[in-house]
Every structure is written in structure tokens, then in C-alpha cells.
Symmetry: D2
Subunit: 361 residues, 4 copies
């Protein structure tokens, strides 16, 4: 009953098999191998456009490299105030960019609205030397609150950004889950909606350790090979990254994996929604379920061995905040989550609700 | 016949098996798992001392993190002028340290001598504000020329460094091969000889992608967790790094692998030494063979599909430099190199030598 | 009628004379001269405590050096969201610190409240590797809204910061004006209230180009000489910085200058307050006057040659924001501002108010 | 008798007068004033070409900003191994560039030769990802050994650099002295010979604290305003930098000052050359005299209050190195140096030589 993170599970068997299969024989090092070449080609096909691709082992590396490629040291990156790049990467974008500033924007469910973006951009006029310069908009797809941007929403924000001369980055650590939820093509959710650089995640969705920085305009990718090398993110046995990404894409495996994770979350959300005393501040969209539960239920679940994160009040309006006897938690399903695990969790939750509900006279 | 790099081969089957075995079930992310804990414990045992350990996926990351931990942005790192950290990492130490300066020292076979170190340190008095400040000595074990430092040699250099207030870093990308060549314990080659921080390599010696930054004085490791995270080198599914390192150490597997690589290089070096027209500018010590061969032999070998790097004149004295009809090459054996591959290479070399040697009248 | 900035005026004649007087003869370069030594000694006397002093030519340099001395690259600096270090220095603290994050806090009149500081600190627990680490609190004395912290207010905030392991920095670009307004000693406003490092400004208050980074605990100043040199802020003819600071302090000249600037602002504020249609959203404390004026008055003043900045809505509550026919402006008096200039400005303002008031039938 | 540095003297009276004259009244801050505009215009006239100009207070800032403008963080700057940017600025170019590598080249008298440059460039092929990328050539005019590059020499080196895609920077801290020695125009010594960015020094030649970064191709200057601001080098009372530079250029004052300094050095060098036991390893070209003198003479001079730097063996061939009873020293004349000071120095030197020469029976 581990719902702590989509990193808590292992790798998809198919991806693991691909690693084992890639092990034999000798190949050129540092990404000059056929596996990496094949993965790059498949990404271009998946996104219906020639892409410059840089494989790395972590999402933080992908995000920080992508942002550094489009942001000077004196640049401002506009992102949601709760964004992973701002809160959970220990300053990686600042490090890779040489000291850029992340400007955090308000917005419901981790999403940036056009109104807030426009208002913020107005405060950062280009050329005002005393201020950092507007450089990039970074959208998380999905957000830290498990929300997704529709292609139209992305396009609206990207248009504003482009008009102001910004590049558009998408943190797609859960891009697969988002695309699956949206029912659109990868291209529709990214470059066709105005995204210039995408951190395309695989690790949370079944890879062992593999992410791709995808630059849709190959001309803008010139520096990334040096940035990656210099950051220690060019794996010497690069074939293992290539093999993971290849297996991840082959036959739409990545969509299958995301579908499974989203389905497990649906089962979990539906089950919880039916339990008295449980409330959901916003609808579930991907493989994450955010719920306010009674404190007693929380205790029962943890006692039963369930793992998940207390989410504080993040993303909640004052009206939605947990009461004295409640906690707000995040439950993450992954492609490794089984129906049995979900049902086991629900059984404990239901039992706790029952006990709580019983009159005490 | 791939002698281009010890990165050209795959992973040792035992290490690959360990990755597969570690895949099941859920574990905490970001290195808080039992595999990583076990690997850390085993490293402390291997080095006969409590160690702070930070696993990462590349040697460049290990070196750059280790150096940044002991060098301020205005620090000088003294290393050999041909050192990997200086020539082959695209400025990673400069990036991670925030702009430190690598000062390259001359010396035969990639080794720094006490005389040159002392003379250089004299040019960097501590406290002279206009100059970068002496911060670290970095020794490669083995060097870019495949030479090893004996524990006594390391100790002599480390003493000079410590007297001048420097920390001592060892780039041990081929530490296993060096220790095997020296016939000493890991402790003797490292902290007992004065090394403060070690980049302990596994990737070149049979891991898929795994290196450890080992800080022998745990008190000096406080910053490294933040530096690693911020550099995007804290793998979310950290269990896979832990599993690799664990399997690498278990039952002395790492020594076996290095022994095999060194033995293959011995076979290769002995075979080449017996061929007329081939000369070795310095004795082979680890799994790398540096030889001057006739240009015709070089052509024959490459035609036969052999892969290896032209080494220019690096490490050679003017007297040793290749003549007009010669080339200087580096041949690297790895734990994946078989006797058959070596013998096949030697057959082509011998045949080429025979043709060349034959009088043409 | 230049009320744009306290940088718009020249230098105080006494300071200029001191520069001229220091010009003769030869002195050691790079701050090893007697003028700098004397200035350092006088600062220690002024602050009633031995201080480590680093003179530089700009306030941005002073702030960025001071912050870098107490903040690691992965550190968080807590400051007001409108702070000069955050909004007006083009990312200098990020640059000098190697990528630290400035966390902007709400608060009235540019001031941080203990409640908001405590709540923010709670979100940055020490040791949570994924987040930047709490490192420093930076208070502006006076703030961007011309408000001052009483010694008790500073102490309350500094206590919270110290309890959380943070260093306390004070941006004292207008420290003289603030101390004068508070009627306290420099020591009371700084280290006795818990300030660890002070950017002690002189340029805005009558120097040509001179600021001091003052570290109250000399043990914490070890790195600053290198940081300053490496940032190009160690003037070769350092005597000219020393001479400015010496003349600035001698005979309490700095207090006189601040008194004059504050008095001019008082005259201006009092005059404006008496004009119908002019309103002040908060009381004036130092040499800056923030007023909402009729748009017609604004036009008249600018037509008459007055210079000052439109302040948008910064620092205002929604209730205080200017109406459709109003503008919110900042007027800065300096030690060069004369009563005639103030009165001239007021005359134009009054005349405009008169015209506006007149019925148009 | 201060020959320690051309920074040891004060400012030229005309420049000081200009500062005083610029003090009255109000001007826009941060370099938007008429003095700065006039200085920029005069620099364009002096160099016979439209220039982008950025005034700063120190030579280290000028060099580091100039280099950062043409070098990415992963770039290599080729300079002489004894260059000021490499040895005397505490890593400022590394800091400003975000971690670039300075590659030191051998060469007589601090000068880089085309042969060595070509050989070094061959080791840094563009696009080899594991290495830092060739970005800039930096020439010191004059060098640390007081040598000058003729326009033809500069052009030859600049051509090699441009062919390899590098930008050419000139560290002109003593540009005035060099131009005076060469008898050429500023344009001939800089952009007409291929220089792209020049650090144009004034401080060592009579300014109080003023240098200009001059970008000959204004299109390449886009980032410098932000870099300067963010480094704390945009002076708020910018008029004082403008006033200095204006007075420095007006009526060819800068050439006069350099002529005076060079003449004093000529007098000094000629006088010393005539003293038995004194030898000059290379001819004097600018305002610096490098001489090997008897140790007894050194003692006598220092006893008499003379100040100058021991130069070790820098720039000397083994044959030229000082013997057991000799020292190698650098004597710097400045525009403040008088004939009396020179003659006084020579008197002491001659007397010491006489005593030494006298037989002791």
C-alpha cells in the first residue's frame, strides 16, 4: 500500500528486459550508440516533428538543463509558486542557469492563469536594466496538484509568453499521465500548443532512470550537449538510457503504463469518494488523488502500513483547508499499483470511517 | 576488438542480475532505500572506516561534486595537466565549484611529482588576495597514462598538500584496476595515504552507471547532499544505484573484474611487446596499454575492425614521439574483454608486422 | 526640482574636499592605505564594536557580497517581496551567492512582520534535501516604502531568524536616514538588535561612490576579501574609498547629511499634506515621501520640470490605490535638496490644486 | 621613490578637477547622464568608430565583464600563462563567465606567439563535447612584462583566433602606454588589428577609478548592461565615471599622461643601464622597467625608502635568472612620477654600485 510516490515502484518489466538485452557487446560511449539513436528517432516520430533529444537520468536534470538552455543568468522564469522546479529541486534551475530567478505565480490547483501571467509579465518590462529579464514560462504538465492543462489552455499561456519574447518550457515529469488524461496526442499537448522545450519524463512512469530533454526547434539546442556534459549528465554507457527510452516508447508502452496508473488512481478516487467523511477539494485528473480524510482514518491507514504524504494545505483555498480532525493527503498511484493494493487501502479506509461514524452512546 | 574505452562494454552479469532482483516491490525514493544503505555499509567495511557515501551515475558527477565539497569558488585545484578533470569533463569542476581554477602540473605518465607540487604550491601563498587560493590536490588513480601511485607516493604528495592546508581528492575512476595492480588494500591506497575524498568508480569496471563519492571524514560531507540534489544527481529510484554498488562489492566482485581487465591488458601488452616495430614508452600497469605502432599496422588493425584511440603525443617525451610512419595509440581492456579478442587483435598486428618487415627486393 | 532619487545629487562638499586632499603622494594600492585603515577604525568606533569592514563603490555590490558571505548556493534568503535586493539589482545576490533563492515575504510598507517570517520559516525546515536551505534574513533599513524598523522590531525578527539558524543582513542603503529618524545609535539599530552583517550606505547620503560591508563578527568575514576581489570590487586606488568614508563619518557629518535630507522631506510632506486632493497612504519617516496626487497636479509638476518616479500601486492596499484621476508617486529628498527646491515644488503643486478645485462652469 | 605600481599615485589634477566640476546639480543616475554620454561619444571618436561603451571602476571588472560577454560558461579563454586575468584577479573571469577555463600559453615577455596559439588551438577542436570550447583570445596590451604587441603582431594573432571562431579581447589596463610606445592610433592597436572587445584602462594612467569596456561591434554588446548591473558595477552617481573618462580623453590628455609615465621610465631605465652590475633581460617599452640588480643595491634602495616589487624569475629564461647575489625587480613609473624621484632613486643605486665595486682590501 505504497502511495507515497510514483518513484516508489520499480521499472516496468519490458523496460528492464530492454536493459538486459542491451547489455551484450561493445558500443560507442557517451550516447553515440544505436540505442540512443533509435530512441531519438522514435521521439521525433512520437511528437510528429524532428526533435533534438538529450537523455538524462533524472527529472531535475532534465528541467534544469531545459531551463538553462532558454534562460540567461539574469533571466526570470515564470512558474507556479508551488512548482516542482521552484520547491523541490534544491535550486537546480538557479544552479544550471547561473543564478536566474524563479518568479512564483498564484493560481488554483497548481495552474497558472492567463490573467495572472499577463499581470506578472507587465511587471517585468524587457530592457529595464535593474530587473531580471523575462526569459521563460515553465508549465508543469501535470501540475503539483495533479491538474492538467488542456491544449487550448497551454496555447493561451504560450501565446502570452511568446508575445513577450519568452520561451515556453513544459515540465513533463508526468507528461504521459497528462496526455492520457487529456486524450490528445503528444504533439497537441506540447509544440502544437506552443511548447518550445519539454522535459519528457519516463522514470515516474515505469523507467528505471530516464528522462528526455526535447527541444522542438533543433536550432535552439546548440548548447545543450555542453551543458549536459559539464553537469555530469552524459552517461558513459549511454546505451542504457537509449534502451530504456526505446522500450518506453515501443508499441505505445508508455501510454499503457500511464493508463494503468491513471486507472488505479480512478479506482482509488472513486472508492474514497464513496466513503462518508472523505472529501476531494478538486477532481482527480491523473494518477494522483488529493483528499481530505478524517485524522482517525489517517491513523488507521498508516497503522495498516500505508505510505503517502501529508500535503499540508497546499493548493487549498481557506474554505477547503482541513479541520482540526482532518488531514489533507496526497495518494499517488503508479504503473506498478495493483487493484488489490487499491482495494486493500479502501478496505482500511472504509473500516475506519465505519468506526468513526458509529455513535458513541 | 573494441579497445576504445572501458565504457564500451556492458555491465557485469552479476550487477545486471542485482538490478533485476532489486526491481520488485516499493521502496522509499531518493536514496533512502535498503540497497543504498547496504552499499554504504559495505563501502565502510571495504575501506575499514566509517565513510559518508554519495552514489551518483557518472564519474564526472562524482569528481565535480567531490571537488566542489572541498574547494571554494575562488579556490585552486592542483592536478596533472592531462588530468581527466581538466581535459575531459567540459569544465564540470569549474561549474560545480562556482568557478574554481584547475592548475595543471607537468609530470611523467600523468603523475604529479613532489618536486613539481612543492614548486607550484610556493607560487600560491595562502592569503594573497589577488590570487585564487590553494584548496585541493587531485590525483588520478590510475592516471590518464595508466600509471599508478604507490601508497608511499600518494602519502608523500598528500603530506605536502596537507601541510599547505589543501584537501586531497583522488579520481578513482579506475581505482579498482589501480588497487589490483598495486596489490594493496583500498584503505592503503586512499585514506591511509592521506586521501580525504575519493571518487570511487564502478562504471568502467562493470557497473551500468554507478560511482560513489566517498568522504572519509564524515564531518566534511555536510553539504554534499544538497550539492548532489541541486545538480540533479539524486536518482529518484535510488535503489538501482544501491543495488549496483552492493553487487559490485559483494564477495570481492569488483576485484575480480579489475583482475580480469588487467589480465587482458597484460596479455595484450606482452603480445605486442614481442612484435618487431612496436614499442612501449612506459611499462603497462593497469588495464590500459600505450604503444607506438607502425602506421601500416594501425591501418591493418582498423581495417580489421579494431577500435581504439589515437593518443597523439600525450605523455611522451620528445625522444619517444612517434616517427613519420608511426602512431601512438591507447588500447583499453575491460572486464568484458576476452582472451579471444586480445589474440585476434594480436594476430592482425603480427601479420601486419610481418608484411612490413619483409624486404621488398 | 529633482526628487527622482537620492542618487541624483552630487557629493557633499566635505567629502569631495577629502577626495581632493587624499590625492597627493603615493600610497599602497588595493585598500592597504591609511585612509582605509582610518575609515575602518572610525566605523568600529561609530558602531561601538570591532568590525570587519569592506569598502566598495556601490550598494548592489555591498548587498550581494554581504549576502553571499552568509548564504550557500543552495540557501534561501528571506526578504520583503518588494525588497531592493529582490527587485532592483538584476539578480546580483543570485550571482554573487552562486544561485541562492530570494524568498519574498508580504508585509505592509515594505516591512516584514514576525508572523509572516515565522510562517515562512516553518515552510523551510532545515535538512529537507529537496528544498533550498534557510540561510539569511535580509531587512531593509529603511524599506522600499521609506519605513523604518525600530530596534525592538529588528530584534524580534532577528531573534526568530537566529533561532532558525539564519544570519541577519541589513540593507542599510539609507541607514543614516533611518537612524536619524529613529533617534537611536547605530549600534542599537544594528548589531545590538541582532544584525550580523550590514550594508552601510553612504552614496545616497552624500558620498560620491562608497558603501561599506560591515561584519560585526570579524570571524565570519574570512571569505569577503576574496569575494570582493573576484567581483572586481577591490579598488586599486583604494584611498579614495577610505577618504570618502572617513569624511562621511568625521564629526558626525553623516548624521548631519541625513538630518538635512529628512528635514527637506518633512518640509515637502508637510507642505503636500496641506494641499487638498493630496493624500499620504502612510506616514513619512525618512527622506522619502509617498503621495497620491491628482493627475492634473502630476502633469503640472512634470511640465514645470519636476523629476520623480511614478510608483504604480506598490505598497498600497486596494483601498489606498489611486483612482482614475490620480497617480501614486515617490518623492525623494537628499542632502543636496534645498528648502527653495521644496518650496518651488510646493508652489506648483498648490497652484495645480487651486486650478483643479475651481469649478469649470 | 614609489615604483611599486602605477596605482600608487593619485589622480591627474585635470581629472580631479573634472570630478569636482561635475558635482553640482542633479543628473539622472546609473549612467544616464550627459557626462557619460559625452565620454561615450569621445571614445567613439578616439577609436574612429561607433562603440558600445560600459564604464566601470576597476580593471578587473572591465576584463571580467568583457570576457564574460564573449565566453560561455563552458568556454576556453586563451591567454598568456602570466596574464593578469589569470594570475592577479582572484578568478574574476571564471566568476563572471560562470566557470570558463583560462588556458595559459607560454611565450617570451608575456607575449603569445602565433606558433603557440596555433598549436594550442589545434588541441581544442570545436564541437568535441568532452572539452571546454574555444571562445576567446585575450591579449594584454602591454603585457605583464611590459611588452607591447605591434598592430601587425596583434593582427596575426587575431586572424588565427577569428579563423577558429574565437572573439579577441584586449586587456588594455596600460593601453595608453602601449599606444604611446607604438606610436600608432588607438584604432590601429585595437579593432583595425582585429580586437573585438577592449578593456580600456584609465586608472593606472591618471584616473581615480575608471575603465571602459569598449565593444567595437555594438551588436555584440546586448548583454553587458545586465551583466554590469548584476555585478554591482553600475555606479548610481554614474556622472563621476563619465566625468573622469571625458577629462581623460579631452585634448589628448590620456596620451600626455602616458607619455610622461613612459618618459620617466625611460629616464629610469637609461640611468640604470649605465650602472655596472645592473642588467636588463629585455628592452623597456612602456612605463615599466624590469632589471636584475645586485642584492646589496636592493638593500640600499629599500633602506632609502624605495618601494617596488620583487619579480622572482617571472618572464626570465634560465640563463637570465638572478644569481645568488642578485634580485630581479619591477619598477613602475606613472604619470605622477617626477624626474626628481627618478634621479633620487638612481643616486642611491649608483652609490650602492660604487660601494660594491670598491675593492675591500
Amino acid at each position: 500500500m505504497d502511495f507515497a510516490s510514483d518513484n516508489a515502484g520499480g521499472a516496468s518489466p519490458r523496460i528492464l528486459d530492454a536493459i538486459v538485452a542491451a547489455n551484450g557487446g561493445f558500443t560507442p560511449a557517451y550516447g553515440e550508440d544505436d540505442y540512443t539513436r533509435a530512441a531519438t528517432k522514435m521521439l521525433s516520430e512520437t511528437f510528429e516533428r524532428p526533435c533534438a533529444v538529450f537523455l538524462v537520468a533524472t527529472g531535475t536534470a532534465a528541467n534544469a538543463l531545459a531551463l538553462a538552455a532558454v534562460t540567461p543568468p539574469w533571466g526570470a522564469v515564470f512558474c507556479h509558486e508551488d512548482a516542482h522546479i521552484s520547491d523541490d529541486e534544491c535550486g537546480a534551475p538557479e544552479f544550471f542557469s547561473g543564478g536566474a530567478k524563479l518568479v512564483g505565480l498564484h493560481g488554483p490547483h497548481g495552474k497558472i492563469t492567463p490573467e495572472i501571467l499577463a499581470a506578472t509579465l507587465a511587471k517585468y518590462p524587457r530592457g529595464l536594466v535593474k530587473q531580471v529579464q523575462p526569459a521563460a514560462l515553465s508549465l508543469a504538465q501535470a501540475t503539483e496538484c495533479g491538474a492538467v492543462y488542456s491544449p487550448a489552455e497551454t496555447a493561451r499561456l504560450a501565446d502570452l509568453a511568446h508575445e513577450a519574447g519568452l520561451a515556453v518550457h513544459m515540465d513533463g515529469a508526468r507528461f504521459a499521465n497528462a496526455v492520457e488524461a487529456l486524450g490528445c496526442t503528444p504533439a497537441q499537448a506540447s509544440w502544437q500548443a506552443g511548447v518550445d522545450v519539454l522535459s519528457f519524463g519516463a522514470t515516474k512512469n515505469g523507467a528505471l532512470a530516464c528522462e528526455a530533454v526535447i527541444v522542438f526547434d533543433p536550432d535552439r539546442a546548440a548548447d545543450l550537449a555542453f551543458r549536459r556534459k559539464r553537469a555530469g549528465h552524459t552517461l558513459s554507457k549511454g546505451r542504457f538510457l537509449g534502451a530504456q527510452m526505446k522500450a518506453y516508447l515501443e508499441g505505445g508502452h508508455w501510454r499503457e503504463l500511464a493508463r494503468a496508473a491513471n486507472a488505479a488512481a480512478t479506482r482509488l478516487a472513486d472508492g474514497l469518494a464513496a466513503i462518508p467523511g472523505v472529501r476531494m477539494p478538486w477532481p482527480r485528473q491523473i494518477n494522483e488523488v488529493f483528499v481530505v480524510i478524517p485524522a482517525a482514518m489517517d491513523r488507521a491507514l498508516r497503522q495498516a502500513g500505508a505510505r503517502y504524504h501529508d500535503w499540508g494545505v497546499r493548493g487549498l483555498t481557506p474554505m477547503q483547508e482541513p479541520g482540526a480532525d482532518e488531514v489533507f493527503v496526497r495518494l499517488v498511484a503508479s504503473c506498478s499499483t495493483t487493484a488489490e493494493q487499491v482495494d486493500g487501502f479502501l478496505r482500511v479506509a472504509r473500516a475506519a470511517a465505519g468506526r468513526q461514524g458509529r455513535p458513541t452512546y
